[in-house]
């Protein structure tokens, strides 16, 4: 399906532990509101700063999965994987798993830093499926811990 047609070699396990350049992005209120609308959210907490403050939030919170979208916007996973030597091509790379450990919600106005590293590389089905796990530690402008994100991508070497 891809131009080369060659079978993708196994992902090099020596990239485990490699740290990627830290990127930063600001959580914008308008972007949060747009995201909340796009996922069909109806709770005013996710739109209205007054409601957010009345419920004890610093500002409108980002819905749980928003932070990974913000990270992808400044650092798309495809580009990242390519720099690690993992070439997807059309449809060969699939998002297999996603996990979050939360310390506190990110809020509108926060400046977040995303420190990413390769957490693991492994294979299943005798190498037919190659997995790469990217782990991102998210902190806010006060260096407070916001979350740890784990993103698992699977590469089908027969595709």
């Amino acid at each position: 399906m891809t131009a080369g047609g060659a079978v993708q070699a196994a992902i090099d396990r020596s990239i485990i532990g490699r740290a990627l350049p830290t990127v930063s992005a600001t959580v914008e209120l308008a972007a949060l509101q747009q995201f909340a609308r796009a996922i069909g959210e109806t709770d005013a907490l996710y739109f209205d700063p007054e409601v957010a403050r009345s419920r004890g939030y610093r500002a409108v919170p980002a819905p749980p999965t928003y932070i990974v979208c913000l990270k992808h916007a400044v650092c798309p996973p495809e580009g990242l994987l390519a720099t690690l030597g993992v070439e997807g091509g059309s449809g060969k790379l699939l998002h297999a798993e996603q996990s979050f450990e939360f310390q506190q919600p990110a809020c509108a106005g926060d400046r977040l830093s995303f420190a990413e590293r390769v957490a693991d590389v492994y294979e299943r089905k005798a190498g037919l499926l190659q997995f790469i796990v990217l782990e991102t530690t998210v902190r806010n402008q006060d260096a407070r811990h916001v979350a740890v994100i784990r993103h698992t991508e699977v590469l089908r070497t027969d595709a």
Binding site: G40, P64, T65, Y66, S99
Partner: protein, 166 residues
């Protein structure tokens, strides 16, 4: 249900029938389900809005010809959109500050016209320090029951929802 928190005595707690819904103000018990979030049949406009809002403009979510060339019957939903809906089921039940962990495995793609339901069941309760954590099993299914996502979440329960009987 008079055995709710507050009595402090060892009043018997009625057995939980699997699938029994959680009730606001009442203790949360293993086997209970959180309120299910039902989504309308998926349409292209929803995917286009999510692409704009998330920044994920991958053509497999928007261009049917492209998706078919990859072997899909048509465009497929963003996995993270489906996970975001599951997140709404969690934050619709408990304040988002109580959410400690949330993980998903994407097991099947979601196609247009499929109507998804986001379902959470309390698997276990666990005390850590002064907090009581609820461990949830999560799944998202379409109208035929095909599972799209399996996952789990950990939430801190509000003290009012903690049973007097540990």
């Amino acid at each position: 249900m008079s055995a709710a928190a507050g009595s402090g005595a060892s009043a018997p707690v009625p057995p939980v029938v699997p699938g029994m819904p959680v009730v606001p103000g009442m203790p949360v018990m293993p086997g209970m389900t959180i309120p299910t979030l039902h989504l309308p049949p998926l349409d292209l406009a929803t995917l286009a809005r999510y692409a704009e809002a998330s920044g994920d403009h991958a053509p497999v979510h928007l261009d049917a010809g492209y998706a078919r060339a990859l072997g899909f019957p048509g465009v497929i939903a963003h996995g993270l959109l489906v996970m975001a809906w599951l997140g709404r089921a969690l934050t619709g039940w408990q304040d988002q500050r109580s959410l400690r962990a949330f993980s998903c495995r994407f097991v099947a793609v979601t196609l247009l016209d499929e109507a998804l339901s986001c379902i959470g069941t309390v698997r276990a309760l666990r005390d850590v320090g002064a907090e009581r954590l609820a461990e949830l099993d999560l799944r998202v299914c379409d109208q035929r029951g095909e599972v799209k996502i399996r996952g789990s979440a950990t939430l801190v329960l509000d003290p009012k929802q903690v049973s007097a009987c540990a």
